[in-house]
Amino acid sequence: MAQTLNYFIAGYAVILGLLAAYCVILFLQSRKIGRALASLKKDSVQPHLENAN
């Protein structure tokens, strides 16, 4: 039987590593968009409050 343990480890490191990296990118992007939307919402509410005062 061929000794191919290193290639087996490398194969799964690439597969699982790329999947994990993509999930992290999606998570970070989701957080960034969420913050930007919340900040825009806050900015649009603020002038109304200032007008009311």
Binding site: Y7, A10, G11, I15, L18, Y22, L26, I33, L37, L40
Partner: protein
Amino acid sequence: MSYLSILAFALVLFAFVRVLFFTPVEQTMGLVQKVFYFHMSAAWVGMLAFLAAAAFGILYLSRKDLKWDTLTAASVEVGLLFTIICILSGMIWARPIWNTWWTWDPRLTTVTIMAFTYIAFILLRRGVDNPARRARFSAVYAIIGFISVPLTFFSARLLRTIHPVVFGGGETEMNLNAQMVATLFISLAAFTVLYIALLLQRARLMAQQEELNQQMAAVDSDYDWGE
């Protein structure tokens, strides 16, 4: 995190544990043969994603709803991720088995053409600003680009190739025992659920990004620039 994402994670973990501990080691190739279970699953999901992208493209052209355009773009992106995983894991398998990282075999050539077709989709889509034009372009591209998928799928069956075929390959067909076949189908199911979970997450993010862009454009147009 949605229930589907948790299910996808659990299924991939289960498939991985099964590959590691409950699937026999192939006698000739050794441990590297076990890369094949996730390699083939990635290849299957990549092709499924491009098929779905073409279907979403047809739905956009018939209904003119931008929701289908978002799904087209998300499906292409996720499909490309799985295709790249397939190509890289295949190269790692090929090194000890074929004694080379890469050869211009028909299957490897057609899968590379397929990957570049969809890389071009993502790059060209970014160049179109108008949402309706971008959606129309993406839909037509996804439908025409799908030609590369059957070309890749049948290349190992119809042309002279050294790439193994799992089912219906004649001389080049792989010999898998019952445990190996069970692991393969579990991996295929796990990757299919993972694809759906990633597709929905990516489509939701794209829709949120579009909403953010529209709100920012509205804020910019409302703002008094002191002119």
